[in-house]
Subunit: 464 residues, 2 copies
């Protein structure tokens, strides 16, 4: 069987490999062979859904139209307590589906500890852990408050959030600022260096960044900027070098003219210029704003959220409301920093899969062949990954185009029926956190979502 980045590729087989290979070589999309059985336990649900295929198609068309029509713009900056609903002083949000302290993985616990100390809710690690275990903090998913966060995704009351507005649908989404690499809260580190940086982000970066935004003639159009970045080797999830560069280029004159101390403006410029992932924390809420616009459409089988809390991977469908369908988080197949290996790795974690949900990240891998090199792949693997995703996507993006695929739009809008029918899981590329709290990032790679989350979603959509 053909392998794609170490995973079996599901297209064709039974002695027709040569035929399929030739088609692929000619850039012809290879269709599924119908006799391949779907994920066991979903046959009945798929059959019931087949009976209303027309209704679902109309619902999915509407979902994709709203995804595609979204025009997320960078509207401003504010504190989480002022922007997110029901955000109390003791609220600590996290990535992925709901989870209690007892079930949290090391890096999520580490980030909770850091946030508690940052907010003055705890004295130190032990105090924070004791209070967390005693129920002193209110936990909840970022996704439920219109926010997203990479890796641990922890958000507490005083943290500054970028505000993304989607005037096309009248909704908003939020995200913290990216802290850079090394020891950072989102990878579960919480020492003095991490806390100092969080304070600087709150006290300096947020103000200077907001000031520069306010001076722009028009707000930054994140769909246009991300589309451009895809022409420049980014895929909008693990590679954001072009996005970060384009953002800085857009902000530069305003930043210079801003009436703030030059040392602080220069520090902000250095911080952004020194962090290729800065744009990720804009691409994510922009994706969330688009995905939220596509949510809540009756009978739609389109995935509108994929998120991991470090223990579980959760999926939401447009047609099944706020319900999370979950399975265990996967192990990331990737490249480790010196001194670390798979035995140190936490399970898959973070809300960053919102990018794959809207046709970026793994779905746009062909735009960023450098990404697949970390797992020993090459440009052809990157092309093959994106091509494979067309089989589980409902549409193709108008704005996110891949030069190497003749400017074809990326596959957009995961149809959960196709995932279980083809047994082809969404491609996700992600960072790897250490499994113990307090350590941080130890690598990056590719990960496979749990099929059972999609199977459960399909069964829920089909009903009893």
């Amino acid at each position: 069987m053909t392998e794609l980045l170490g995973r079996p590729l599901v297209v064709a087989n039974a002695g027709v490999d040569l035929f399929a290979d030739e088609l692929e070589r000619q850039d012809v999309r290879v269709e599924r062979v119908e006799w391949r059985p779907p994920e066991p336990g979903t046959e009945g649900a798929l059959a019931r859904l087949a009976g209303e295929a027309g209704t679902i198609a109309r619902a999915n068309d509407e979902a994709i139209a709203r995804l595609e029509d979204a025009q997320p713009v960078l509207a401003g900056v504010g504190a989480a307590r002022d922007l997110l609903p029901d955000m109390s002083a003791r609220t600590i949000l996290h990535a992925g589906p709901p989870i209690d302290w007892a079930d949290m993985s090391g890096p999520l616990r580490g980030a909770v500890i850091g946030a508690a100390v940052h907010e003055g809710l705890a004295e130190d690690r032990d105090d924070a852990a004791r209070k967390a275990a005693a129920g002193a903090f209110e936990f909840g998913p970022c996704h439920d408050r219109g926010a997203v966060g990479p890796m641990a995704g922890v958000v507490s009351a005083s943290m500054p959030m970028v505000v993304i507005e989607n005037p096309a649908h009248g909704n908003r989404a939020f995200c913290t600022f990216n802290e850079g690499l090394g020891k950072v809260l989102r990878y579960g580190a919480y020492d003095g260096e991490v806390l100092d940086r969080l304070a600087w982000i709150r006290d300096v970066l947020a103000r200077v960044f907001a000031g520069a935004l306010a001076r722009l003639d028009e707000p930054v159009d994140l769909r246009a900027m991300t589309a451009q970045a895809l022409q420049m080797g980014d895929e909008g999830h693990n590679r954001n070098r072009a996005g970060t560069s384009l953002l800085l280029r857009a902000l530069l004159p305003a930043l210079i003219e801003l009436a703030e101390p030059e040392a602080e403006k220069a520090a902000v410029a250095r911080f952004i210029a020194g962090n290729d992932h800065f744009y990720l924390n804009l691409a994510m809420p922009a994706s969330k704003a688009a995905a939220d616009a596509a949510a809540g459409i009756d009978r739609s089988s389109i995935v509108v959220a994929m998120a991991r809390n470090g223990t579980e991977f959760g999926v939401r469908l447009s047609g099944t409301g706020d319900r999370w369908f979950t399975g265990p988080s996967g192990t990331v197949d990737g490249l480790y920093l010196p001194g670390f290996g798979p035995e140190d790795a936490n399970l898959d974690i973070g809300d960053s899969t919102i990018t794959e949900t809207v046709g970026l990240g793994g779905f746009a891998m062909a735009a960023a062949p450098a990404i697949v090199r970390v797992v020993g792949g090459g440009a052809e693997d990157a092309l093959a990954a994106t091509r494979a995703m067309y089989d589980i996507a409902w549409g193709e993006s108008r704005s996110y185009q891949i030069p190497a695929l003749g400017f074809r739009g990326t596959p957009v809008g995961i149809d959960c029926r196709e995932v279980v029918r083809t047994r082809l899981l969404p491609f996700v590329n992600t960072g790897i956190a250490h499994r113990e709290p307090g350590v941080g990032q130890i690598g990056a790679g590719l990960v496979e979502p749990p099929m059972e989350a999609f199977a459960e979603a399909v069964r829920a959509l089909a009903g009893p």
Copy 2:
């Protein structure tokens, strides 16, 4: 016969198309078929050169080593009169091989007029033209003074030049600042808007830019930056969006901290951020610094300069000193701005082909499929263009890699013997100037150099 962007592709034929196609599909380099005749009139020269193939190979290896070892860095800014040799107040340099006023095309004349007025050497258009015809100005190629210039490439005494240093070889190269698009001197425009901008570049941009450079901890490494830009959809000649963005990102903190009026710093930032071609005028002299290091190696058949003055296209070899081998400039096959067509176009013009000389531009087309769209091509054509150039190149770049070709290095170092033997001319992509002075840019596209320049070079290298 297979066509590539409208030009016949020379590889294989005679009923073996299927075989060659299959090889190409498998990404196997298709070798020339030996019986194909070389360019008529070069058979004897090629035979004589074949007799010393070993000597030439050693010379070419040395030339490529110097090209590849070049480490061009952005060292500073100064006035042409202080930097370039023998630069008098009445000297006006131009792109391409030597040419007199009588033979200059419209856009080159327009740029000369603009420079003469800018320098106070003439009152207006008529005065400048009269003086030019009367021999009041000293004309000479940029290339002969260590400089390069895009399009008309006109340089006069007071113009600020960026200084590129190549410590690996101890040489330097120079270029003016890019003026942006629209009505600009390099396309032959010379009205008040053009002259005002030239004055601002001299009086403000040069000072602020130099000040920012001086504040950097280390000078900008242009080889590293261009290599990165090639991972981001640039090819270093007609697409420099990533390079411009990366440059701004590198300069940003220094620009903020610089003790200059904020309005001027912001104006400089806006000017650079608003011009995707700003980086071209750094990529060109960086290429010149590398190519000059490879020049002057006895018996080497490697091309170290390709340049056009709007009338003639000239080639220099490493092994034949300062001598130019010329042929008529070609017609650019491209896309025109509204209201213009091929009948308005000047012939091919500019020193920007120095980028193709070092493995960028047309040789790196596979990195920038967006470029070939202007002539109706697609991503496959871009890949094919770069692949074809391996047949006439002596080496492959270590630093300039193409993601879509599995990170293979670009073809680098044109061997003039291979050009005439395969009758495959270098791919060049370029802008189109209006043929009348004073108008400016009217399009962009691809152009074919004259084979006779390469044939003449081969005959000169072979000797009588």
